[in-house]
């Protein structure tokens, strides 16, 4: 692995789901990365003369505001593009954090077993018995609003998902004779874990990571909808939905467009995750070969 990727390692690129998911996610990522270059207007620039302009293709639309404006006359397209920044930041950082904590504990628990496994297993049980929405709202109240609090809340709620699922995979791999063989040829615990077990759990890890990003996007939207994420001087998709509620009868587009953005992004992550799971999981691969 590593330097020379074999053809079988790249086989996942042929899966339709992976390609579709990657295109969707890639588009959103590019929008987020280059938002300052792409936006036609300052997303915060209010223009009370041109409020609630419908999208350019409908009657009364203005080509200057491609997707129209909201009740304060702000350009919807620009706000969506900047909203993607918030969504992606949260998705990447929160998933990374949840993965690091969850995967580390899962590998320790699954590999060493015994008492360590018991302690970690019970901790996950207790943690998971809190309803996740309540837990995140309590956390948000304690941490205060803000994007870093959103990230922290997602990490603290969702690490258990990684831990549970990966521990089972580590246990299966641990029982393989090649892990025992690695110990016998003189591998220490660290080397056995990183060279023998981690490569085997990596496909699942990547898949979980991808799905978690989708979840993080939704959680961020929920929290910004109730106004606990970014401040009013920044735009986030959930916030846009919340704002559009007031003018839902005058301009439905203001509500539909951010929802569509969330939908497309989550669909992209789910397609990517599902496709990766199908093409990276050796058990599913074998089933196809037979």
């Amino acid at each position: 692995m590593g330097k020379r990727l074999a053809r079988q390692d790249l086989a996942f690129l042929r899966s339709g789901r992976v390609i579709a998911g990657a295109i969707l996610v890639g588009t959103v990522m590019i929008c987020a990365l280059f938002a300052p270059l792409l936006v036609p207007h300052d997303p915060q620039e209010q223009n009370l003369i041109t409020t609630l302009v419908p999208p350019a293709w409908s009657a009364g639309g203005d080509p200057e505001f491609l997707l129209g404006t909201d009740s304060l006359g702000r350009d919807v397209l620009s706000r969506l593009l900047y909203g993607a920044r918030v969504a992606m930041t949260v998705a990447i950082l929160a998933s990374l954090g949840a993965m690091l904590i969850g995967a580390t504990l899962a590998h320790i628990a699954g590999y060493f077993g015994g008492k360590v496994d018991w302690v970690i297993g019970r901790a996950v049980d207790v943690w998971m018995s809190f309803p996740p929405v309540v837990l995140s709202l309590v956390l948000m109240t304690g941490l205060g609003a803000g994007i870093s609090s959103v990230i922290l809340a997602i990490v603290l709620v969702d690490w258990t998902r990684f831990c549970r699922v990966l521990r089972a995979e580590v246990l299966v791999t641990r029982r393989q004779d090649y892990v025992a063989a690695a110990r016998l040829v003189g591998f220490g615990h660290w080397r056995t874990l990183t060279r023998e077990i981690l490569p085997a759990t990596m496909p699942l890890l990547i898949t979980l990571f991808s799905i978690e990003m989708g979840i993080a996007v939704i959680v961020e939207a929920i929290l910004s909808f109730v106004g606990m994420s970014v401040g009013a001087n920044q735009s986030a998709w959930g916030q846009m939905i919340a704002d559009a509620r007031q003018t839902i009868y005058e301009s439905g587009w203001n509500l539909v467009l951010p929802m569509l953005a969330i939908f497309v992004t989550v669909l992209g992550f789910n397609l990517l995750g599902d496709g990766l799971r199908r093409s990276l999981d050796p058990r599913l691969m074998q089933a196809r070969e037979l």
Partner: protein, 608 residues
């Protein structure tokens, strides 16, 4: 002439490849099976023997289909039969005995429920009559306490008992034909013999014809009336069982005969057939005889023309049905084992390498809520292994052989006892002691599928030791060592770039051995390393171990259930039963003049 129950004529099965090409998987298979007779289909894995059984049941894998020839059951055409008609036939007039008895039974249903379901399907309406029939059948296969058995689940029975249940189910409908696909491969030798005897008994009692699919030529010769030997989808030889075994006419049959280790025959080297059976994809490149690349008698004609199965005069006895597919049958008896003098460096006075004293391993098993019972997997075992000595450990499954191996290598912690490796106490749990032990003892695992990391290339696997011991070693130096090791176990260097999934079973096991040899250990522990392999591959590996012993000098603790293989390889043997060593001594003495009753029982079961 009695009419045949099942006859096949020129049966051809083809598979369609992704690129639209067609490959012939089976071709020109022909036989006629009379009522009450046993036909053996013999061949190694990949020979296509199971494919014949599947063609009869029309259970061919997707992409495979019968494209030629005929298959007639009684007077019905099996190839062009509709799905409904076939369903009527299968399980009623044609019954199957599967290879893996445990996985053939539904784990969440009691034996009684499964038996009842089967009987209901074949037409016994009344529930009480089903119960009675099931009991009678279970008694017919000599299962004790049949009425209790009906309420038990498959996991509560041993593999042998499950197979008896399945045999009883197979004969329940009084079928005309029973197809048994390797019915004893998954079972111990002592049970194997009884199952074979039982199948013979049932066949006689019910007057069914039997197709016995096996890789074991000798077993087939004992049990069958007629044998069809298959190689790479072709029938290569056909004849009466005993004549075929005693005087094979096709070189492949001859090689199989010479490659199987025996307990009774005088000491001789095993014949090692080079290479492996060609896989499906390679068949297209073999225009001539498919055995030609491996055949010791190969001639010009063999590479260009394909021999047909033609009648030949049997060398002994009169067998008008004797056929062989070979141009040069007259040369076959000339194939003999080459004698490669594999002298050992072991002498009686060699210093001690491994000392095991009073070794015990107990597992606590919980029955119910409070009752704890202790189970001794290894129970007070003491023995020694000297430098360069090959010691075999034999016993049935569950005798504690594998646990013993794990204890010696340090994968399990003993409950009591002492192990000394190379003069040092092996229980030192420190990291430094663990590193040291790498150079003294190594283990070759039983299942190469699980023992090789599927994400590493073969070259990286065999030099894993260096990764821990010399992490700074340059990639080229490591590659050189990998090539050395691969050459030592007889693999070409280019295989180093392959992943385990791209290697055959025999090649995987060689990689497995090469990894253990990388640290040049003084003691090699091998747990059933030739068990799952074909006879010819097994013979290659035995030859390899003997050659390596000559070249590298190491001691071997060889764990196996196969007494003949142990006899071939080891100077000394330990016989284990229920966690204890019941008999030990020099191999010739223990096997030649067995003293202990259990050793005698084992020998009787595995010889004839």
């Amino acid at each position: 002439m009695t009419p045949s129950i099942l006859s096949a004529e020129n049966l051809t099965v083809e598979s369609r490849l992704a690129d639209g090409r067609r490959l012939s998987v089976l071709s020109g298979i022909g036989f006629a099976l009379e009522a009450g007779k046993v036909l053996g289909l013999v061949g190694e894995s990949g020979a296509g023997k199971s494919m014949v059984g599947r063609a009869i049941a029309q259970l061919l894998p997707p992409g495979f289909g019968v494209t030629g020839g005929s298959l007639t059951f009684g007077n019905r055409d099996l190839v062009h039969m509709g799905a409904d008609a076939r369903r009527e036939l299968l399980g009623r007039e044609i019954a199957f005995i599967p290879q893996e008895p445990l996985s053939a039974l539904n784990p969440v249903m009691t034996i009684g429920a499964q038996f009842g379901e089967h009987l209901a399907r074949i037409g016994t309406r009344s529930k009480t009559r089903r119960q009675g029939e099931a009991l009678a059948l279970l008694e017919a296969v000599h299962l004790p306490r049949a009425s209790e058995l009906l309420n038990q689940y498959p996991h509560e029975l041993s593999g042998g008992m499950c197979q008896r249940v399945l045999i009883a189910m197979a004969f329940a409908s009084r079928p005309k034909l029973v197809i048994a696909d390797e019915p004893t491969t998954a079972l111990d030798a002592t049970i194997q013999a009884r199952i074979i005897a039982l199948m013979g008994e049932m066949r006689e009692a019910y007057g069914a014809a039997l197709i016995f699919i096996t890789h074991d030529l000798r077993l087939a010769a004992k049990f069958c009336d007629e044998i069809l030997v298959l190689y790479a989808g072709r029938a290569v030889e056909k004849g009466k069982a005993r004549e075929l075994l005693s005087a094979p006419l096709h070189p492949y049959t001859r090689c199989l005969q010479l490659a199987a280790p025996s307990l009774s025959a005088p000491e001789r080297d095993l014949f090692t057939l080079s290479g492996e059976m060609p896989g499906l994809a390679r068949l297209a490149d073999l225009p001539g005889c498919r055995f030609a690349p491996r055949c010791p008698n190969v001639g010009e004609i063999c590479r260009t023309q394909e021999p047909r199965l033609t009648p030949v005069t049997a060398p002994l006895g009169d067998d008008p049905g004797r056929k062989a597919a070979c141009f040069r049958t007259e040369m076959t008896p000339g194939i003999e084992t080459r004698s490669h003098a594999a002298s050992s460096r072991y002498e009686r006075s060699s210093p001690l390498l491994l000392l095991v004293e009073g070794l015990e391993k107990r597992y606590r098993s919980r029955r119910g809520l409070f009752a704890n019972t202790e189970l001794a997997a290894v129970d007070g075992v003491s023995f020694t292994v000297a430098e360069n000595e090959f010691v075999g450990v034999v016993g049935e499954s569950g005798s504690g052989k594998s646990t013993l191996a794990k204890l010696v290598i340090g994968l399990e912690t003993p409950s009591a006892g002492r192990i000394e490796l190379g003069g040092r106490d092996a229980f030192d749990r420190s990291e430094a002691a663990r590193r040291r032990r790498v150079e003294v003892a190594q283990m070759v695992f039983q299942d190469p599928q699980s023992a090789l990391n599927p994400r590493r290339r073969a070259a990286s696997i065999v030099t894993q030791v260096l990764e821990a011991a010399a992490p700074r070693l340059s990639a080229s130096a490591r590659q050189r060592r990998a090539e050395e090791l691969l050459a030592e176990v007889g693999l070409p260097a280019e295989l180093g770039a392959r992943y385990p999934s791209q290697l055959s079973g025999g090649q995987k096991q060689r990689v497995n051995i090469a990894r253990a040899l990388c640290a040049t250990p003084k003691l090699l522990i091998a747990d059933e390393i030739v068990s799952g392999l074909d006879v010819s591959v097994q013979a290659q590996l035995i030859a390899l171990l003997r050659r390596l012993r000559h070249e590298l000098s190491f001691a071997l603790l060889f764990i196996s259930h196969d007494l003949a293989v142990v006899r071939k390889l080891c100077e000394r043997v330990l016989v284990m039963r229920h966690g204890k060593i019941v008999d030990q001594g020099l191999t010739e003495v223990v096997f030649g003049a067995p003293q202990h009753p259990y050793t005698r029982e084992l020998l009787a079961a595995s010889s004839e």
